[in-house]
């Protein structure tokens, strides 16, 4: 695979009233079909990079090597209020790509149907909900068949319950091989969708890493600090790293469950969980069986060990297969107002746990679980 985009030493500064803002010396490349998330505090330069890539800003120095067009979806969407949803979508294809109106409408209709907005095609944008507007903005960009889609903080203005609909859309696009660069401060989303994460601060790249290394193998103190403070405050988020802490956490958590309750888990990772629990697995399992805690778990594939467990205690294991469109979801469970995200890593990496104590976050994770559960199929 070859890079479709190369950015070399990109520098762009604006003179704002107090200090100079922008980005310095940013370099990265993007492969075809890759999803790159730009993460960092506000003012880090995420939007600046996207605006430069979209050709909306003249760069001070450096190079952007890109052969085709990139289409930019703005943070505030910028739908055209005087045009209906359909007109918003077909204007650019008919004007710029010299596609006939009929053909443009066909493409637009297919996209609208795919993303559940066909009924809204003749509405004006002001009469759509926030989530619908978001999807229309993305569809409008997709209708121009861009080689690269640039999304700037598109979920920032949405209520938590609306975010999922937009995120699911983006996941579908990622699966279909759409190359994307996404600026976001939504870490969970970034870790679910991105192939790589570029962490920026004060206009400079602090780190570019593969997503799986970003959260749990995070050695950079600045990023760790950011991971802990973003969108949630420090008191709400705790990270447990390494085998010892992982095991201690699991055993401690088990005690918080009432007898006979259920543990709803998204995304099993085969036998890795058993590995991570190491010598403490026996103890955990014994206590769990005694308390009669049910594992309601969704997985991509049932491992031999899981199957063995299930057959031994059928009443304590309700396993289901994840819906096909969900690949490698975050592995998590929710207890009351707490979300527990488990990060296993490969055998050569230490596991970690991110614990989020926030009732709104817990609710949104739980509702995502419920949605997936309804779409999943029981393992018999």
């Amino acid at each position: 695979m070859s890079a479709i985009l190369k950015v070399k030493n990109l520098t762009k500064h604006y003179q704002s009233s107090e200090k100079s803002v922008g980005v310095s010396d940013v370099s990265f490349s993007l492969q075809k079909g890759e999803v790159l998330c730009l993460i960092g505090p506000s003012g880090a330069g995420k939007s600046t990079i996207l605006r430069c890539l979209a050709g909306l800003e003249e760069i001070d120095s450096g190079e952007i090597l890109f052969e085709d067009s990139a289409t930019f979806v703005f943070q505030d969407l910028q739908l055209w209020p005087h045009k209906t949803v359909l007109e918003n979508i077909i204007l650019a294809p008919t004007l710029c790509k010299k596609i006939s109106r009929v053909e443009a409408i066909e493409t637009a209709t297919a996209l609208l149907k795919k993303f559940g907005l066909y009924e809204k095609r003749d509405q004006y944008p002001d009469f759509l909900s926030g989530g619908q507007k978001q999807r229309v903005a993305i569809i409008r960009a997709l209708a121009t068949k861009p080689k690269l889609l640039l999304l700037d903080e598109i979920t920032s203005a949405l209520d938590p319950e609306l975010i999922n609909s937009v995120l699911n859309l983006i996941k579908i696009l990622a699966k279909e091989g759409q190359s994307m660069i996404i600026a976001t401060h939504h870490i969970k989303f970034a870790t679910e969708i991105a192939d790589h994460i570029l962490f920026l601060e004060n206009g400079e790249v602090v780190q570019k890493s593969a997503t799986k290394n970003f959260v749990y193998a995070q050695r950079n103190p600045r990023i760790r600090q950011f991971l802990q403070t973003t969108t949630l405050n420090t008191k709400e988020i705790t990270i447990y790293e390494g085998y010892d802490e992982f095991q201690a956490f699991q055993l401690g958590t088990l005690k918080r469950f009432r007898n006979g309750s259920a543990l709803n888990v998204v995304g099993s990772s085969g036998d890795r969980w058993f590995e991570c629990m190491g010598a403490y697995y026996e103890q955990y399992e014994k206590e769990r069986i005694e308390k009669g805690i049910l594992w309601r778990m969704m997985m991509s594939q049932e491992s031999a060990r899981d199957r063995d467990l299930r057959l031994r205690h059928p009443q304590l294991h309700e396993y289901r297969l994840l819906p096909a469109h969900v690949e490698n979801p975050a592995n998590y469970y929710v207890i009351d107002d707490v979300v527990v995200i488990q990060i296993f890593g490969n055998t050569d990496e230490e596991p970690a746990i991110i614990e989020i104590k926030n009732s709104n976050v817990a609710k949104s994770y739980q509702s995502y679980f419920d949605v997936l559960w309804n779409q999943s199929t029981p393992i018999e």
Binding site: L56, A70, T71, H82, L91, Y124, D126, T144
Partner: protein, 223 residues
């Protein structure tokens, strides 16, 4: 006690009718030419071409400052002396009123465009439209909505301003009415009739304009 005689008005109804038609025609031409010219000037004020914004600015400032009557007389009497071109009263009036209207339209267009967020412009560019397409398909249609009330009131003012053309002998409503007065010596009846005719033209136009604004506003929640 004044003895009203409305037969005068009825006797000359064809004259009034012809005068009203001329007034309407003149106004329509002025509106079309003045708006186009104003649009070009308004766009020129935001152009990046060297000196074009400055020229447009001087034009707008000058012709907004100049009373229409002075402009009209100057075009009708001074232009022929300086340039050796004699304009008919109709063309002189058309030119003067159009120039005046264009200066006001230019300001309205500029303000309307500036009220549209810059990102609306950028959103078109990033989807592949060129600057002209963005202006005509995205910016101007939206700006038009905020410009509309202002434009309509400018147009209605133009209809009234057209009566100034009577001073250079153009055959519009007021001028013809003056001729009727000199034949009949019935100024009160004639001027009352003229007032009624202006009202009969302007009030329906104002109502239609209001309807149009409402229809456009229905597309958005907040306007």
């Amino acid at each position: 006690m004044y003895d009203w005689d409305w037969n005068v008005v009825l006797d000359y109804k064809e004259v009034f009718f012809a005068g009203a038609l001329t007034t309407i025609w003149l106004t329509l031409f002025v509106v079309v030419i003045g708006t186009l010219l104003g649009l070009i000037l308004g766009l020129a004020r935001r152009s990046s071409i060297l000196l074009l914004p400055q020229i447009a600015r001087v034009y707008v400032a000058t012709f907004r400052a100049l009373p229409i009557l002075i402009l009209l007389i100057w075009i009708y009497y001074v232009v022929p002396m300086v340039f050796h071109i004699q304009l008919s009263p109709f063309y002189a009036a058309l030119l003067a009123l159009s120039i005046n209207l264009s200066a006001y339209v230019a300001e309205t267009v500029r303000a309307g465009i500036e009220a549209i967020p810059k990102n609306q412009f950028d959103s078109g560019i990033t989807l592949g439209l060129n600057r002209t397409q963005v202006m005509f398909y995205i910016i101007l249609p939206q700006a038009f909505r905020s410009m509309l009330p202002n434009l309509l009131s400018l147009y209605i003012t133009q209809l009234k301003n057209s009566s100034l053309a009577s001073v250079i002998g153009m055959n519009e409503l007021l001028h013809r009415s003056n001729l009727v007065i000199s034949n009949t010596y019935r100024p009160l009846e004639v001027y009352t009739a003229v007032a009624a005719i202006y009202l009969a033209i302007i009030i329906p136009v104002t109502c239609l304009a209001g309807q149009w604004e409402k229809r456009l506003a229905r597309k958005t929640k907040n306007t």
